[in-house]
């Protein structure tokens, strides 16, 4: 790997400082905190929620802190009737700007192979059991569309600020392999 970087640098294709800057940008600018702010806003503001579900790219661009989201973002809403879950069976497509770089399990064979065939089994691996009658909708990210799950707002959070709500939103709840935290429970 060092060897390849040396070759690319010696040939004048890249500056090592530019590679440092890319890594730093990934480490500091993206991450699930972005998605959590979007979810918390949707929980608090019905108008924003509606625009998020209609056109997530456009809706998210109205929020200054995550204004650099790319095109093709789609938000999908969990309801008592339907639970959404996102996978990329072919590679590792994932909403980077919203959630950061994907965890290893998301990119690995067990999740990619089973999410579309046995989603309840996969959820059980995460310790999550949903009612038998709940529809499980799996979104396989086969093109450049990126999916963000909008989880259901936890009960007992009436009157909470967006910032407090964002603290309950976990990365996995926005992939669909988890649920948001509960008030008072350790996150």
């Amino acid at each position: 790997m060092r060897a390849l970087e040396t070759i690319l640098t010696e040939k004048g294709y890249v500056e090592p400082a530019a590679l440092d800057a890319i890594i730093q940008a990934y480490e500091t600018k993206i991450g699930p905190h972005n998605g959590a702010r979007v979810v918390a806003k949707a929980w608090s503001d019905p108008v924003f929620k509606q625009s998020l579900l209609e056109d997530a790219t456009k809706a998210v661009r109205t929020l200054g802190h995550v204004s650099r989201v790319g095109d093709h973002l789609v938000a999908v809403e969990n309801t008592p009737q339907r639970h959404n879950m996102v996978v990329c069976t072919l590679c590792s497509c994932y909403p980077w700007e919203m959630l950061g770089l994907p965890p290893v399990w998301y990119k690995a064979a067990p999740y990619r192979s089973r999410a579309v065939k046995d989603p309840r089994g996969v959820l059980a691996d995460f310790g999550l059991t949903l009612p038998k009658e709940t529809e499980i909708r799996v979104w396989d990210s086969t093109a450049e569309t990126r999916f963000l799950v909008l989880p259901m707002r936890p009960e007992g959070t009436e009157g909470w600020s967006e910032e407090q709500l964002a603290g309950l939103v976990t990365r996995d709840s926005m992939i669909g392999t988890g649920l948001p935290g509960k008030p008072g429970a350790p996150s």
Binding site: K11, A108, D140
Partner: protein
Amino acid sequence: MNGVHDMGGMDGFGKVEAEPNEPMFHEPWEGRVLAMVRAMGAAGAFNIDTSRYYREALPPDIYLACSYYQKWLLGLQDLLVDKGFIAASEVASGRASEPAKSLKHGKFTVDDVERIMVRGKFARPAAAPARFKIGDRVRAKNIHPATHTRLPRYTRGHVGVVERNLGCNVYPDSAATGGGENPQWLYTVVFDGVELWGPDADPTTKVSIDAFEPYLEKA
């Protein structure tokens, strides 16, 4: 290609094991590889579809045995050698010894970092009206392209319903193989679990893919 990367529905890989408090990179070199792929792509050495194709084209035993960023490194090396940006002899020696090839967008510098932190745009003007409308029943074609495609094997031959029209987009099957962007309409198509996996499947499951128009026929 019917590669081992096309994993949807395969058995035998075991449980999903999440790592608590997982770091963004497990080793510093992983970040370097990610950065090199992003930088060389942004400099114009290749597009995103071609880079995916080179990772898929790794031999199956290598693909399965390698970590994620190892695959990225091997795919990047193969791609840069094939496109003439580096020589196999340079990979072997670890030093540059051949003349550089010019990059479409020039050397990647610190000033370019900002622009790559926003995703690229893949929507393109349409050359023809969309063939399918929301609610149409469509069959994923029983096709087996030998090169890059984004139609997963587990859907081929099965009937689903068009749920969204995602506009006209760069067609990966063309873009990955030097065939240009060849934009095509893109749809979210949703399949019942039982249609995909048979009568024993969980009837509450639905699975959607985003399918380009050439992947679909009227059902």
